[in-house]
């Protein structure tokens, strides 16, 4: 799995920061109508975040240009508005010819309806187990604290 090497601020992820952790990878955008999902994502981080799990936000500006800010602006928005503590990766293309290798792998995985392919919109979620096998894909309108997301996280941490 081609996990992000670089944080939003340009510094590399520390050894072990993502390794061997279950991950909920979410493409995020500050100006999206779904941005209140940050609250639910942070709740998941508070509830499950540990040596074995973290939410990982991946800012992306490919959806209506709703993540136009600088790294500082994005980080400030997330921290100040939603009090996020989970890590953010560098801004990334999740679809198209410049699709990041991570998302080439993620988008090959189907959702609950059996549909693989492009990320539909901001706040699509992919759950990886501790060995970084993709185990679930949740479309943007699935709330982070929904029963299906929580159950899937509990299964990979069991």
């Amino acid at each position: 799995m081609h996990l992000p090497q670089t944080r939003l601020d340009g510094t590399p992820f520390a050894d072990g920061e993502l390794d061997e952790k279950a991950l909920l990878i979410v493409n995020v955008a500050s100006r999206c109508g779904l941005a209140p999902q940050y609250t639910g994502l942070e709740a998941l981080q508070k509830r499950f975040g540990s040596e074995r799990f973290t939410v990982l936000g991946v800012p992306c500006n490919q959806f209506a240009g709703q993540e136009p800010g600088t790294p500082e602006e994005i980080q400030s928005f997330c921290s100040a508005t939603y009090g996020t503590t989970f890590p953010l990766a560098a801004k990334t293309d999740v679809n198209g010819v410049r699709q990041d290798p991570l998302y080439r792998e993620l988008t090959a995985f189907p959702d609950a309806a059996g549909e693989a392919g492009e990320v539909q919109w901001n706040f699509e979620k992919f759950l990886l187990d501790g060995a970084h096998n993709i185990v679930a894909r949740f479309r943007p309108t699935v709330e982070p604290e929904s029963d299906e997301v929580i159950a899937a996280i509990e299964r990979v941490l069991a």
Partner: protein
């Protein structure tokens, strides 16, 4: 059918999103310009999404069918 309205002297105009066609050149509210290569239903009921999936960029712009969009050029 919504009548096109002049937007500026450069020939831009606004049209209803429902009248956008493949190949049209649009400008989104954030200023991104895109050439529509695909039109599809959006994740929210009743909305449509314009997609540019090209060697230049991948970009998605959703709209209500009766919303005005800025048309830069017909495809």
């Amino acid at each position: 059918m919504t009548a096109p309205t002049p937007a500026d002297a450069a020939g831009e105009r606004t049209i209803a999103a429902a009248e956008v066609q493949i190949g049209d050149r649009l400008r989104s509210r954030d200023g991104t310009e895109m050439t529509v290569t695909r039109i599809e239903p959006f994740i929210f009921p009743g909305m449509i999404a314009f997609v540019e999936d090209s060697d230049t960029q991948w970009f998605k712009l959703p709209a209500q069918p009766d919303a005005e969009v800025t048309l830069l050029a017909r495809g």
